[in-house]
């Protein structure tokens, strides 16, 4: 399938729904009233200069119910993109498309194309186990395996054949736990059960587990919802540290968190991608009325 031109300079002007007024007349600068209904096309720049993930016209159906309408979006390499929107807006559904977790849901059908580094992951013969190593996921409720801390991290690399010897495994476990900001706290009890850690530590263990299989992308679905402010702050700091090596997409209900951790923010509403843009623009100066209403707390 021909991949769409990803050159942001050549982005079709129809992506931007704002009318341009002729500059040479002296006239009212009053802003045109934008409609309050979901736009036909996403506002803002969907393209990224160096895209790790390219989605084009992705739709999702749960049985006959349509949950996602033709979402096209690039996720830039080594960026953190926040997906925000009210419950049921499709952001988690979209996230789950990126590592084909929707395959595990009975009656769920996905259409459209998703490319990760030029490979269309929607291909029916794709190795999804391999995909889910490349594109890791961290969930809202920390879900460590009922194994030791060590085995939680080592399990994935072992079954993917990434390590052969014990010393390689030791090294990988230490490296992953260090990168997840957890090693110092657990280095003296690596054989203790993962479930014995605090909520925040469990979540960081899950992150360590995800990065142990050397992903390119880490998907996070409300990773801090179950955590206290201190654990949340540690995870947010971690997200910033991880950005150097990974691309991260994070679904969050907290506007402030989205503003803090991400470089780009995408706002979903009723299954459509309404607006996407640099995070500081979305929170300072959003374009669509729906975006304004959501971020400012005007829920009707």
């Amino acid at each position: 399938m021909q991949m769409m031109n990803m050159d942001p300079i050549a982005a079709p002007k129809s992506e931007l729904a704002v009318e341009h007024e002729p500059p040479h007349e002296r006239h009212s600068h009053r802003a045109p009233k934008l409609s309050a209904s979901t736009p036909e096309q996403t506002l803002g720049e969907i393209h990224a200069a160096d895209a790790a993930i390219v989605s084009r016209t992705v739709s999702v159906y749960y049985g006959t119910k349509r949950a996602l309408y033709d979402v096209s979006l690039d996720i830039g390499r080594n960026e953190v993109i926040a997906l925000i929107g009210p419950s049921g807006c499709g952001k988690s559904t979209y996230l789950r498309c990126l590592n084909r977790m929707n395959d595990t849901i009975e009656g769920c059908r996905v259409t459209g194309d998703i490319f990760i580094d030029d490979q269309n992951i929607r291909a029916p013969d794709l190795d999804v186990v391999q995909l889910r190593a490349r594109v890791g996921m961290v969930f809202q409720k920390p879900n460590p395996f009922p194994k030791s801390i060590y085995d939680n991290v080592a399990y994935g690399p072992r079954i993917h054949g990434l390590v052969r010897t014990k010393s390689e495994t030791d090294e990988l476990v230490e490296r992953s736990l260090t990168r997840a900001g957890l090693f110092d706290e657990v280095k003296d009890r690596l054989l203790a059960p993962g479930t014995g850690l605090s909520g925040g530590q469990q979540q960081r263990l899950c992150i360590a587990r995800a990065i142990a299989v050397e992903p390119e992308v880490i998907l996070m679905d409300e990773p801090c919802s179950a955590l206290d402010p201190i654990a949340t702050a540690k995870v947010e700091q971690l997200i910033d540290d991880l950005r150097a090596n990974y691309t991260i997409a994070i679904v969050t209900h907290s506007m402030q968190q989205a503003a803090r951790v991400s470089q780009r923010t995408a706002y979903f509403h009723l299954g459509r991608l309404v607006e996407v843009g640099p995070t500081r623009e979305i929170f300072k100066n959003p374009v669509h009325q729906l975006t304004v209403d959501y971020i400012t707390g005007r829920f009707g």
Binding site: K284, N285, Q289, G297
Partner: protein, 246 residues
């Protein structure tokens, strides 16, 4: 790039109330400051000592309103963590309060000049020729202040741009007034005391115009999310608004 304002109310209605109260306070402060400027000018032009003294006393009210407004803004930031147009509105109102307080200071200076002029020329009004520029610039300055307050309360960007244009006019008036006043001294050196006082008053009016322009610029930021401060003339501001960059 156009922006939209928050339209229907916040789901947490208290937020709406707090914003409305802040806007109301700023408007009240604006009306008081406008009255201060008017009264100070009347005190000077018509030698009304009592009026000038009242302006001096009321200056405390202006300062108190600034403190109150700033306090409410901190509360809003803490409680509501505003974003988007709410954030721009709160920041713009805060900056406008600052400019209004400064205008109040200028009005107080004009009132003081009125009292000094009265003492320097007991039983004898300084020539209306000398004060002619004060009268015309004073009228224009008050128009600018009112325009800026209209722009702020009605969220009227055209009104804001008009203020920036007319401030250019006020600055022009100031420069020609200075030239006229110089000739006064050259013709009769005994007028130097009154001319210097007049010059300071004109400077205050010129500053009031600048503060009105600042408020207009805050309004533009509030509405369009574009910072047009320090661009120079009103033409430059308009050009910047017509460009469609962030």
């Amino acid at each position: 790039m156009s922006t939209v304002q928050g339209r229907a109310g916040h789901t947490v209605r208290q937020f709406d109330t707090e914003l409305e109260d802040l806007r109301g306070l700023v408007l009240k402060m604006g009306k008081l400051v406008t009255q201060q400027i008017r009264d100070a000018l009347d005190g000077l032009l018509d030698d009304k000592v009592a009026l000038a003294k009242m302006v001096q006393r009321r200056e405390d009210w202006v300062d108190a309103m600034e403190v109150e407004a700033d306090d409410r803004i901190v509360d809003l930031l803490v409680k509501r963590q505003p974003v988007g147009p709410d954030l721009r509105a709160i920041l713009s109102l805060g900056k406008s309060v600052r400019d209004l307080e400064r205008m109040g200071d200028e009005a107080e200076r004009i009132a003081r000049a009125a009292l000094d002029t009265h003492e320097r020329n007991p039983g004898f009004k300084p020539s209306s020729e000398l004060l002619r520029d004060v009268e015309t610039m004073g009228a224009l300055a008050i128009e600018l202040v009112q325009g800026s307050l209209t722009a702020l309360t009605q969220l009227d960007i055209d009104e804001a741009l008009e203020v920036t244009r007319r401030d250019d006019e006020l600055d022009g008036n100031f420069r020609s007034a200075l030239r006229r006043l110089a000739t006064f001294i050259m013709e009769d050196s005994r007028t130097v005391g009154n001319v210097i006082a007049s010059t300071f008053v004109l400077k205050s009016l010129e500053r009031i115009g600048d503060h009105a322009t600042n408020i207009a610029e805050h309004v533009i930021y509030l509405i369009r999310g574009k910072d047009v401060r320090h661009l120079g003339s009103s033409d430059e501001i308009e050009k910047a608004l017509n460009r469609h960059e962030p």
